[in-house]
């Protein structure tokens, strides 16, 4: 599947690290009542947390004509400022294989840096529901134009949600480990169009090429089945510990241009990603296939894998705490359901 050897070596390193870390039980992250919402790969999860995704590696043939192979290696560092408000930074390094790149000979370099500010609006442990709002900013000019990084900044206000089905009646016990998450965002380019000069060598004419930058609806969802939830909240089937840590998942990530579409068109692009997440105490490892929804979305089935660390569990008293952390409340916890 891969065009060169080191992505395979990196994936092997991820799996080796996973095996080394699998000594103890259970998992972490956005936790709402009984529910653990894992970090997801194609869309952002609804959680606000201290975490480090490093690396995330994907490989897929693009939907361009002609199509070319693109390798992305990215990382994301997320830090809570308060319990409910956090900021994250996500650089991505890309390699475009020939015939990609401006001269069709391939190219490599960083994409624009992405920053996300996210605030958790609401959390209901009883109903395993969480709602967050954020602003994603792709900083124009911070990346290399040779890999397609734009010169203008893009702002994407986004809503995120997660809902576990643990509050279904016990007669539907089989469905209670299911959960869905989703996001919907509206990308607003900082420049509505890009104008460039063109020269027709045959006619000797100089012209203007105008490319309109569309506003894009970024939307997606995940459906996940939590084996950790099945074991700890529904029925302990005595399955092996490895199985009890798995979360099969399907992600859908789509982009639909909705305005200023004179040159972009309005075709929705994106991928459907079936995969699996292995949740450890302090980390998770995930791998998904990337199935393009149409020809414009990709030239083949790609793959994406990620190693993700829960910094709040690794460094609970320093890097893993909100900068402005509240004290632990005293008194008897409130029960109820």
């Amino acid at each position: 599947m891969f065009g060169n050897s080191w992505p395979l070596a990196t994936l092997a390193a991820i799996l080796t690290a996973s095996a080394a870390l699998s000594a103890t039980a259970a998992q972490a992250h956005e936790i709402v009542g009984n529910r653990f919402f894992p970090a997801t790969l194609a869309i952002d999860d609804p959680g606000v947390n201290d975490e480090l995704a490093l690396p995330t590696i994907s490989m897929q043939k693009t939907g361009d004509t002609p199509s070319f192979k693109q390798l992305d290696v990215s990382g994301e560092f997320a830090k809570r400022i308060t319990e409910d408000f956090g900021v994250s930074f996500a650089p991505t390094w890309s390699r475009l294989y020939a015939p990609g790149g401006p001269n069709m000979t391939g190219s490599r370099g960083f994409q624009n840096l992405e920053t996300t500010l996210k605030y958790r609006l609401f959390k209901s442990p009883e109903h395993e529901f969480v709602l967050s709002a954020g602003l994603e900013i792709e900083w124009g000019g911070s990346g290399a134009q040779g890999v397609g990084a734009e010169r203008f900044t893009v702002y994407t206000p986004t809503l995120y949600f997660g809902k576990g089905f643990g509050d279904l009646p016990t007669s539907l016990n089989w469905a209670r480990p299911f959960a869905i998450t989703g996001q919907i965002g509206y990308s607003i380019p900082g420049a509505s169009k890009i104008t460039s000069a063109t020269f027709d060598s045959d006619a000797g004419d100089i012209g203007l090429d105008i490319e309109f930058n569309p506003r894009v609806l970024n939307w997606g969802a995940t459906l996940q089945y939590s084996m950790p939830y099945l074991k700890s909240a529904v029925v302990d089937l005595g399955l092996p510990d490895f199985v009890n840590r798995l979360i099969p998942i399907v992600e859908v990530s789509l982009q639909t241009p909705v305005s200023n579409t004179a040159t972009s068109g309005t075709v929705t692009t994106g991928t459907i990603n079936p995969g699996i997440i292995y949740a450890g105490d302090k980390y998770q490892v995930a791998i998904e296939a990337m199935i393009p929804v149409n020809r414009q979305s990709g030239g083949n089935v790609g793959v994406i894998a990620q190693l993700h660390f829960f910094l709040d569990d690794i460094f609970p008293n320093s890097l893993g705490r909100p900068i402005f952390a509240s004290n632990i409340s005293s008194g008897r916890p409130a029960f109820g359901r």
Partner: protein
Amino acid sequence: MRIITTITFILVTAGAAFAHAHLDHADPKVGSTVAQSPKEVVLWFTEKLEPAFSLIEVRNEQGSVVNAGKAAVAGDRTQLRVPLKSLPPGTYRVIWRVLSVDTHRTQGDFTFRVGR
């Protein structure tokens, strides 16, 4: 690539780390049916617990608490147990809320049945 490998190695080998306390297993088992009334509920967690902030309530189908005493942290501080009254046949919900020693709060619940 070296930077990624180095950071990964540091995080993987962060030996003194703690984590959220999650329910590892229980007696009676999650979702199980037991023939006789159990004398107690015992929960095993994945991390050590702070006794003052770690509690269990067991409720019957009418919502009444059937604990016969206070919950107590036991063993190597990863166990939480609570004595029960004599339970007639029925479905019981175990509701737990704990604080791990690294101050992470977690909570959860599950049911078990007696005699049906």
